[in-house]
């Protein structure tokens, strides 16, 4: 006996295939947020490229931009998971500052012998960061103290410890060159450079800096490998969907998307290659971004974090250990805050009491500009990264333009508000 009271679609499969183009348009519309964000970043870059008369895309400036903002993006990766799981972490700036101070004390002041080696210190610092995350996450996960309060306390505590470690207002440095390479170093050119235009040699026999054109070939090769891998995996995933009959996006759209992304990536790689190659911190960041995209999109733990943020009770009743998962999210945040702190210290070449001060707000802003919901359960890694870059490019561009720091904050605030308003408006329309 049938109980249907209306026409029932047989299943989504056949329909999706038949209505290819229509579905593609609707896919485009539903992904407007994601595309819109990337388009906004490109628009902002083009705008500043114009207003800074081409300084923004200069290889030197690109390297600076990455080095200045990498710690925000690294911490935003952790913050995304925190916010998706329905929490917040206000302590990341203070933890970063504290870890920077700890690293400096270990490497410069305390007589630790072989343990003052930058690598050993970095590993210890990451572990300490994880322990800090665990300490905060413990109260949040197992005692249900609101994360806002726990991490607000953490923000005060670790800023205080940071300042106390450094002995009041003084800074500790200089840090060893090997450590500073984390932020200001470039990957070695193992292949060797390629000189396209030899540098101009002046009458005194010295080469003029910035003249000529030499390519950092390792960078070029790495860039090409990355682009080919990107296209290959994109195509393979597409094939697999096609084989199962679930492909909704027309091939032309896929090609255009891949080409535009690849061209953009190759352009940036080329710019880096004409200078000193890829900054080490960019490689670290890239690996972390890829890892977090994979974890959130493909791994069960990522799926569980989204489910927990969407409805913690339902997740728990589905067999997800929400307490342990929350703890893990905060441990991860602690480790990434520590890495952020190391990057800041390495860039400054010393530990200062104000390192990372206020950066928690930049990190949180990046995640929200990237489309995460303050209610939890919604947000993408790529969004948070693009959000971080939008903030970074604006900082950088406005600084070059000579915009007063006070007004830079006003503009950043407006962009944050605008992005979220746009998001809410879009959702209500849907």
């Amino acid at each position: 006996m049938s109980t249907e009271s209306g026409p029932v679609p047989k299943s989504g499969v056949a329909e999706d295939v038949q209505q290819g183009p229509r579905v593609a348009v609707s896919a485009l519309v539903t992904n407007l947020r994601e595309y819109g964000l990337i388009l906004a970043l490109i628009a902002i870059m083009v705008f500043f490229q114009y207003t800074t008369s081409g300084t923004l895309f200069k290889p030197v400036n690109l390297s600076n931009l990455v080095q200045q903002n990498s710690f925000i993006i690294v911490m935003a990766l952790g913050m995304l998971l925190v916010i998706v799981s329905g929490h917040i972490d206000l302590s990341v700036g203070s933890v970063a500052g504290f870890i920077g101070a700890l690293a400096a004390m270990m490497m410069v002041i305390w007589p630790l012998g072989p343990f003052s080696n930058p690598l050993v210190v970095s590993i210890i610092c990451l572990i300490v960061g994880g322990a800090i995350g665990a300490a905060q996450g413990y109260w949040i996960a197992y005692h249900r103290i609101p994360s806002f309060i726990v991490t607000l306390a953490g923000m005060l505590i670790f800023r205080g410890i940071c300042q106390a470690l450094l002995g009041g207002g003084s800074s500790v440095g200089p840090l060893p060159a090997g450590f500073k390479a984390l932020s200001s170093g470039f990957i070695p050119d193992v292949i060797g450079s390629l000189t396209l235009i030899p540098p101009v040699v002046n009458a005194a026999g010295k080469t003029i800096v910035g003249s000529g054109l030499t390519l950092h070939m390792t960078t070029i090769v790495l860039g090409l490998i990355a682009v080919v891998a990107y296209a290959y995996f994109g195509l393979r995933a597409r094939r697999s969907r096609e084989r199962h009959g679930y492909e909704a996006e027309p091939f032309s759209l896929f090609v255009v998307k891949t080409l535009v992304t690849s061209a953009l990536a190759l352009f940036l790689v080329y710019q880096f290659a004409t200078y000193r190659g890829l900054p080490i911190v960019l490689v670290v960041m890239g690996v972390l971004i890829a890892l977090f995209v994979f974890v959130t999109k493909r791994m069960t733990v990522g799926r569980r974090i989204y489910a927990m943020g969407g409805n913690a009770k339902a997740a728990q009743l589905s067999g997800i250990k929400t307490e342990r998962l929350t703890l893990m999210v905060f441990i991860n945040m602690g480790v990434l805050s520590a890495l952020g702190g190391l990057i800041i210290a390495a860039r400054l070449g010393q530990a200062v009491p104000a390192a990372g001060l206020g950066s928690e707000l930049d990190v949180i802003a990046a995640v929200f500009i990237g489309g995460a919901s303050a209610m939890g359960g919604v947000g993408q890694v790529v969004g948070a990264v693009v959000g971080g870059f939008i903030m970074g490019v604006m900082n950088n561009g406005m600084s070059i333009m000579g915009v007063n720091v006070d007004w830079q904050q006003v503009v950043k605030g407006l962009v944050l508000l605008g992005a979220v308003v746009f998001d809410v408006y879009n959702k209500n329309k849907a």
Binding site: G6, P9, G12, R241, R304, A307
Partner: protein, 510 residues
């Protein structure tokens, strides 16, 4: 004959892509109780939102004539000024405010912004007397039960000098007793000349109080029946567009050995530690058997099921659980799931679904290892699983990528069921599996239950609807005040027998 108080003519309301209402007509006479019935998603709530101005004039076509004037309500304030008050399904009370504060919220007796609490509380007491609620006006909403909260909502409506009261499924979350009291109140209002529109799924209630019934299906008015023509069969036929000869699918039970056995199960209240909620329960379920647990609201049925399912409720839990004769550890949800126990919650929105995620992700959530290898999810396998269960349980949606928050109650329930079916349990505990869903979807859920039993699952159904238990189970336990007070084969059970067991049990318990 009484005059017509409200006439809605040719109401058409479109949302982007969907026509929710097309040329709906509703005519309500002064002083009657007019029931509006229809399947979930038929357009009842939309119609009431049009009437009360939630959807302002201009966003729909058609006209509303109230007491002879054509009305153009711009918002809920306009309709309330004319004495039209709507009480929504989800109660709109502020939990941490008192009854008096809630009743006069936004409408306080005040001069220059300074509230006259004495006046508020005196008036509240008078209103509470009218609705038959014996509570101090200063009591916080959070400290009174749902039934009483419903009465507070009605008192609030009375405070606005209501002439036309609209109730959207008022008894959906009430116990039998509270429901009866509420219906009596409606009849009392009728004597006082207040007109009511009652939206309900419960046909026995409509039978009892309604003077007229308007049936809506797929956004159209099907017919309006006068009191003498009202019969359940007639209403069901109009609601689903065909007759439902049999409201429960027939099945041939094939019952095997005992699968789950619970011995001497006791649970204490999570907050009031001295209160024992479950008092030494013994039950068993066999392979291929559907066992019902009957009882009134507050009998402890949900608490029992949830405490059994990974200690999700209560503390100081003692007792033994045996699966096929062997004791098992069910101290966490994941352990219970591993042992093949699944619990489908009575409150799918709060405990069952991630409403901001789509069907596919919800279905696989309880068994992610089933679609992944080395903790990496296989997208294609997941999609195939989701489509498979969408077809099996007949989930009506454009695709498995639809948000579960946008589905109707019946389809949401099918998603929750699918989630637990994919976890492949041996014992399935279904808590109020058909609450708040329409007749057609109910039948589909019953069919799924029957199929699962024939596949050899052991099934426990907790339900407050006795006909449902009698219709689909093989054996019924009756629970009252945390104890099993009766056990009977469904074949020789009846509503009276169950009620008698409860009443007798009540005497024993105290």
């Amino acid at each position: 004959m009484a005059s017509t108080i409200l006439e809605m003519r040719d109401i058409t309301k479109t949302f982007p892509g969907v026509k929710a209402l097309s040329n709906v007509n509703l005519s309500v006479e002064e002083g009657e109780i007019h029931a509006v019935v229809g399947e979930n998603g038929a357009g009842k709530s939309t119609l009431m939102k049009v009437l009360s101005g939630v959807y302002p004039a201009g966003t729909y076509d058609g006209e509303i004539v109230y007491r002879g004037d054509e009305c153009q309500f711009k918002g809920i304030h306009d309709s309330e000024r004319r004495g039209i008050v709507i009480i929504h399904q989800e109660l709109a009370l502020v939990p941490m405010l008192s009854i008096a504060e809630n009743i006069f919220l936004g409408n306080e007796h005040a001069s220059y912004g300074i509230i006259d609490w004495n006046a508020n509380e005196t008036r509240t007491s008078a209103l509470l007397k009218k609705v038959g609620l014996k509570e101090d006006p200063k009591t916080l909403i959070t400290n009174i039960g749902v039934g009483k909260q419903q009465l507070v909502e009605i008192a609030k409506a009375l405070s606005k000098e209501v002439q036309l009261l609209i109730l959207d499924e008022p008894t959906a979350s009430l116990s039998e007793k509270d429901s009866q009291a509420l219906l009596d109140l409606l009849l009392e209002f009728k004597r006082q000349g207040i007109t009511s529109i009652l939206i309900s799924h419960k046909l026995n209630e409509i039978n009892r109080v309604a003077d007229k019934v308007t049936i809506i299906r797929d956004g159209r008015t099907i017919e309006t029946l006068a009191k003498k023509d009202i019969s359940e069969d007639r209403i069901i036929t109009s609601m689903v567009g065909r007759s439902l000869d049999d409201r429960y699918p027939s099945r041939e039970p094939d019952i095997g050995e005992v699968v789950l056995q619970v011995k001497n199960w006791s649970v204490y209240h999570p907050i009031h530690a001295e209160r024992q909620v479950i008092k030494g329960i013994d039950i068993d379920v066999r392979k291929g058997e559907v066992v019902g647990i009957a009882g009134l609201m507050g009998a402890g049925r949900t608490e029992f099921a949830m405490s059994l399912f990974g200690r999700s409720y209560g503390r100081h839990i003692t007792g033994e659980v045996l699966l096929k004769g062997k004791p098992i550890d069910v101290s966490s949800v994941s352990k219970a799931v591993e042992h093949g126990i699944a619990y489908v919650t009575e409150d799918r929105k709060t405990y069952g679904l991630n409403l901001i995620d789509h069907i596919k992700h919800n279905i696989t959530l309880a068994n992610l290892p089933g679609v992944s290898r080395h903790s990496v999810i296989d997208d294609m396998r997941e999609l195939a699983v989701a489509n498979d269960y969408k077809a099996k349980t007949n989930i009506r949606s454009s695709s498995v990528y639809q948000m579960t928050g946008n589905l109707s109650g019946g389809n949401q329930q099918k998603v929750v069921l699918s989630k637990w079916l994919f976890a492949n349990p041996e014992v399935l505990i279904l808590d109020e599996p058909t609450r708040g869903i329409d007749v057609g979807a109910k039948y589909e859920i019953y069919t799924i239950i029957a199929r699962l039993a024939s596949e050899g699952k052991a099934i426990i159904v907790i339900s407050s609807e006795m006909p449902e238990l009698l219709g689909i189970t093989d054996r019924i336990y009756v629970m009252n005040e945390g104890r099993i007070v009766g056990e009977m084969a469904a074949s020789d059970a009846s509503q009276e027998k169950i009620m008698r067991a409860i009443v007798r049990g009540e005497g024993k318990a105290s």
